[in-house]
Subunit: 257 residues, 2 copies
């Protein structure tokens, strides 16, 4: 299989990392729209426009399937992209939602994501569509990405204060399962757990990789290509924080739009 994987920026590299780990035999082409990051504060119209350009770029590279490695695009533009292409388009939401619904004991699920993800109510729709009695509480966490990108570590006291602030309403509701609905957030997993250890945290990239790996088996190692719309100021540092070794793939820049 040759997968096209895209994100608004570099957060999707946490998904790419999980995919390579569980399916090293596939080929991957990653696109990160670094020049136009972040998507999570933009209007739905703009997000759909950008996501369509990202997906078109990958489609032209003859991929067999597209994986939307971005919670915001998965929430806002997945239906649109599915309707355009004759190849599978996977969102990171769907598998995470299944896993969360299976995991919860008390039926109370928290979702953390960008403002656009929370506004879309897509996680709520999918979760309650699966089990109508689930209680879902969503919180936008717009500072997590800027914190990482400005070099403040997830275990810094400032990051902890921000995490505590965001989790407060979910702790109050006693959710037992929290979906990290933005692909940057796995970096905060330990910070979140230290603030609220009573929940299980669902990594959307990991769930996607687990599900997709069920279908395919091969042994040889595949090829990885990375494209970004811009090499931003802290590109290499951030890619590394995302747990992605840049030496794992070639990096090329491409202009879209």
């Amino acid at each position: 299989m040759r997968y096209g994987v895209f994100d608004s920026g570099l957060g999707g590299m946490t998904v790419l990392g999980q995919l390579i780990k569980m399916m090293p035999y596939n080929d991957y082409i990653y696109f990160g729209d670094v020049a136009r990051v972040p998507y999570g504060t933009r209007s739905d119209k703009t997000i759909i426009k950008y996501a369509s350009e990202d997906a078109a770029f990958l489609y032209k590279k003859n991929v067999d399937a597209i994986i939307i490695a971005c919670g915001t695009v998965s929430s806002v533009a997945h239906e649109h992209l599915k309707s355009i292409y004759d190849i599978p388009v996977y969102s990171v939401i769907d598998f995470a939602v299944q896993s969360a619904a299976k995991n919860t004991k008390n039926g109370k699920i928290g979702v953390i994501g960008t403002q656009a993800t929370v506004n879309s109510r897509m996680f709520e729709k999918k979760l309650t569509g699966m089990k109508s009695d689930l209680e879902v509480y969503s919180v936008a966490c717009p500072l997590f990405v800027p914190l990482i990108e400005s070099g403040i570590s997830p275990d810094d006291e400032i990051s902890r204060s921000v995490a505590a602030r965001y989790l407060a309403p979910l702790i109050e509701k006693k959710v037992d399962t929290i979906i990290m609905g933005c692909t940057h957030y796995p970096i905060y997993a330990e910070t979140l757990k230290s603030v609220y250890p009573d929940a299980d945290y669902i990594n959307v990239g990991r769930e996607t990789a687990i599900q997709l790996s069920r279908d395919t088996h091969r042994t040889e190692k595949g090829n990885v290509e990375i494209y970004v719309s811009e090499i931003s100021q802290a590109f290499y540092e951030i890619a590394e924080i995302m747990g992605f070794s840049v030496s794992e793939g070639t990096i090329k820049t491409v202009e879209l739009g």
Copy 2:
């Protein structure tokens, strides 16, 4: 006079507010490139490209002069824009630099701005070009804009912790004057003063308005038009935080690029 004023987003509205306050008799056309904000983490090439499109939009509206109401663009693209146009192009840096050099007693000046502004070393060049014995210390404060845009107030304890972290190296150097080199930062003036009261804080928009108002005098009230490349999710709230009453001007959207 008919001024064209632009910024990467809404921070420039703090400059527009000062201009209207000191020169209510002028006409203003503001452009905020909300769809592509933030510029401060982007490459110089991208910043120059975006700034050129912003300035071209205003020039076509027949303005008499352009004011770059953005610290990042002033640092990175001012020379380029000046070389293109046959009307004056003012940056918010120049007047602030003059004022800071005049204000300092101990010759130690701090500059706070975006990563791109700090990387450009433009404030250092202009300050030491004016007085070669000035000591200039610059700190990038990439979290201030996301904090504001995510609804965390400047007097919140998280904002204070972030401000204290950023100011620490300037406090250590005992600077007596700090240039707020990004047009969003005047919103943080009180927070910064509470963390480090021993410095005078220079508001780049205010200095620009003071200098420009010396040349012109009229009495009737001018017209204000606001254009943005996108009405973002929190547009109206942010405009208000910027001290700008949206009812002061008409808001229209326009697509660039």
